[in-house]
């Protein structure tokens, strides 16, 4: 298509996922534009991770369609699709038998880049996540702290010029201060690189910080999508209202409990 129609980069239409009797995701419809990062927020079991995984076909929808730049992802070979999509998740899954540089360079190598290009790209990506390549490139994953591992995870997701990125609660297992550092680093990356994609979290502050818009999920349904302000000013239901207000209540509690 040569006309410059404002086609969404990612589009989910009526996506439903059932695992046997259990409905994990029910009729989710959402469109994400180029340069937009959608934060999906909700409680455990609300279906946000499952929804994310339909985009890179780690989960196949029972019904509904997922499109990447207008193409039904079912028409794409899974591994070809996934090389176009950066993926980063809470358990990180660094390859323990590969160095940091080999981990970050895996998708470019699978894409068939030549060695010199891979190396330059890996160094650039490591610098981007604030891991000086001269120090970290040749380390093994077991030599890194939890925060450093997840920085490598982010660098791996961003390697190979992905068209979109999918973050699945990447910082959920980190201590609060490390998490905060990584949140701000990711916010900076988003602004520098103009990331398009989905960021799943159960942390409303993280969603507000990183999401251009926020989608609230509850019991498998996407209840509301909007900016933080829109959600606060016009919550679709009581659940959204309470969820978006949770950081305020926590802050009040922290102040009240202080000396």
């Amino acid at each position: 298509m040569s006309e410059r129609a404002p086609e969404p980069t990612i589009e989910l239409s009526g996506v439903t996922v059932r695992f046997g009797e259990v409905t994990a995701v029910e009729g989710v419809c959402v469109a994400i534009d180029e340069g937009e990062l959608l934060a999906l927020v909700g409680g455990s079991g609300s279906g946000k991770t499952t929804t994310l995984k339909t985009i890179n076909r780690l989960v196949e929808p029972t019904r509904g369609v997922v499109r990447l730049r207008g193409e039904d992802v079912r028409a794409l070979v899974p591994h070809v699709l996934r090389r176009r999509v950066g993926y980063c998740f809470q358990r990180i899954g660094l390859f323990p038998h590969m160095t940091v540089a080999q981990n970050v360079g895996i998708t470019p190598r699978l894409l068939g880049w030549d060695a010199a290009r891979v190396e330059a790209h890996v160094r650039e990506r490591l610098a981007l996540v604030e891991l000086p390549p001269e120090t970290y490139a040749d380390r093994m994953p077991h030599e890194l702290s939890g925060g450093q591992k997840q920085r490598v995870g982010v660098a791996r997701a961003l390697a190979g010029e992905p068209e979109i990125v999918l973050f699945d609660e990447p910082f959920g297992a980190l201590d609060p201060l490390t998490r905060e550092q990584l949140q701000h680093a990711t916010a900076r990356l988003r602004d520098e690189l103009g990331l398009t994609g989905v960021f799943v979290t159960h942390d409303v502050v993280e969603a507000i910080l990183l999401g251009d818009r926020i989608g609230v999920m509850n019991e498998g349904r996407l209840v509301q999508v909007g900016t933080a302000r829109e959600l606060r000013e016009a919550p679709a239901d009581d659940y959204v209202a309470r969820l978006i207000d949770a950081p305020n209540r926590a802050a009040a509690l922290a102040r009240g409990a202080g000396p």
Partner: protein, 511 residues
């Protein structure tokens, strides 16, 4: 090359053939099973069942299994290296299969998800992530299989494959404890050596130390190449050696050597003695043409192969009937009657040594319910035993099976009261043991006869001629003297046979 080095190389070749075949089967099967739980259950179940079969039986079962291919027109060597390698291969499967499945299934699910997530094809997930991470466990399985297989290869001897088991089996029979020890130590040394090589390769690769893995790989690769080059499945190159069978007791070892050395002296053929074959293995192998010659006893053919009872008491009559039956039903030729008779007999201590005061089996029957009897591996399942039981109503308090080498000492030491003895055994006289009279003729005569495969006999008239000259050459006393030299004086069977042949040729020369 010394005999030890020769046997160790043969042992290594059998083991490496089996391990290579086993790895070629179990690695792909393990990978497939790790992905399909239903297949995993079937495959691991089958391998576990194989593992529960005693090693000796598993190898022995390969002989009739291979022979049965002849019914569909496929002539495979049923004794020798082929059945040994197949049996050992089956035995090596379980540790390699199980460790492949376990190693792959223990890879961190997060790492597997990452492998999919970064865009690997299923094949790349296996090659780049799952196999490298499972490798230490898979190699551990290979090492277990290596140690098991090398150890079990000693059991290849009874099915006619040369291995360090030759030293162990022969040493046990001839009370040569040094040979037994040498066989065990050499086999253990091979197992540890191979295990060490594999470990060096794995460590060297994992720690990226070329100095470690390159030399180890070269050595292991050389050994594997040598194994692959050794004739396991194909026919032997050049003129085939004359294959002579020997059952697992001293007399048979001496006779096997005697035949071999006679052939060596009188013809330009090269003989090879396959020791420690069971009665049925030897006979079946002769009929199938896997063996060319061995010495059998007419009474054994009568009861074991013909399945007959009530033997004619006359030695010549029985021999004639056996000879006719062998020729007509199995195409087996009786080359010569050696002249001596080695009968199964019941023996006891003399009353002065605390034995029962009986002279005949009939008298023994009344005392038997209070007595213990011991026999070799075959006795209690042989027709002779059934004939004794039915003829005399013999019922002992206990029946014990033990190695023929131990029977006489057990009786002399009073651990058992009666044994199934061989009448030519020198230890009967040495221990002052008495043979009980079989007054009703339940046990047939046991003329020793040289049997030959008919095709071999037709193709090798020079060998047959050389052996016919042994007709009537060995009487009971001569055979007993040979057995005594090995069992009591510690002479190797080869030397005893050589001495007898030397003595005979100097006797013959003046004529």
């Amino acid at each position: 090359m010394t005999r030890l080095a020769e046997l160790a190389l043969a042992h290594l070749s059998l083991s490496l053939w089996a391990l290579m075949l086993g790895a070629a089967i179990s690695l792909p099967l393990g990978v497939a099973a790790a992905r399909r739980p239903s297949l995993e259950r079937v495959v691991l179940g089958a391998a576990s069942v194989i593992q529960t079969i005693p090693g000796l039986a598993l190898l022995a079962v390969m002989v009739p299994a291979l022979a049965s291919f002849a019914t569909v027109g496929l002539e495979l060597p049923a004794i020798g290296a082929l059945p040994a390698v197949l049996g050992l291969t089956l035995y090596s499967l379980l540790p390699m299969l199980r460790n492949t499945v376990v190693g792959l299934s223990e890879v961190d699910p997060a790492v597997k998800e990452a492998a999919r997530g970064v865009g690997m094809t299923p094949r790349q997930q296996l090659r780049l992530v799952e196999l490298p991470l499972a490798l230490p466990v898979i190699v551990a399985g290979l090492r277990t299989a290596t140690v098991w297989t090398v150890g079990m290869a000693t059991l290849a001897t009874p099915i006619g494959a040369s291995s360090l088991g030759d030293l162990i089996f022969a040493g046990l029979q001839t009370r040569d404890h040094r040979a037994v020890l040498l066989g065990c130590v050499a086999s253990a040394g091979l197992a540890l050596g191979l295990d060490g090589l594999i470990r060096a390769i794995e460590r060297g690769v994992r720690r990226r130390r070329r100095a470690l893995w390159i030399p180890a790989t070269v050595v292991l690769g050389g050994l594997c190449a040598h194994a692959l080059a050794s004739p396991v499945i194909g026919a032997f190159g050049g003129p085939r050696p004359v294959r002579i069978g020997a059952k697992p007791f001293t007399e048979q070892y001496v006779l096997g050597e005697l035949l071999a050395q006679r052939i060596e002296r009188e013809t330009d053929r090269e003989p090879r003695v396959l020791r420690s074959l069971g009665s049925h293995v030897a006979f079946d192998a002769l009929v199938a043409g896997d063996l060319d010659l061995y010495v059998e006893y007419t009474g054994t053919v009568w009861t074991a192969q013909m399945g007959r009872e009530a033997p004619p008491a006359d030695r010549a009559a029985l021999a004639a009937e056996v000879e006719r039956w062998l020729r007509e039903t199995h195409g087996v030729v009786v080359v010569a009657r050696l002249g001596f008779e080695n009968a199964y007999a019941l023996a006891a201590r003399a009353p002065s040594d605390g034995g029962p005061s009986v002279d005949t089996i009939g008298q023994l029957a009344a005392r038997a319910p209070d007595l213990t009897v011991a026999g070799d591996y075959e006795l209690f399942r042989r027709g002779e035993w059934r004939a004794l039981e039915s003829t005399y109503g013999l019922r002992f308090a206990e029946e014990r099976t033990m190695d023929p080498a131990l029977l006489y000492e057990a009786l002399a030491a009073g651990e058992v009261d009666v044994i199934g003895a061989y009448t030519t055994d020198g230890r009967l006289a040495a221990h002052h043991l008495r043979v009980l009279e079989d007054e009703r003729g339940a046990i047939p005569p046991y003329d020793a006869v040289i049997l030959a495969n008919r095709d071999f006999a037709a193709a090798s008239p020079e060998v047959i001629t050389a052996l016919r000259a042994l007709d009537g050459a060995l009487d009971d006393e001569a055979m007993r003297a040979l057995n005594r030299a090995v069992d009591l004086e510690g002479e190797p069977p080869e030397a005893a046979a050589r001495a007898w042949l030397d003595a005979r040729s100097t006797d013959a020369r003046p004529r």
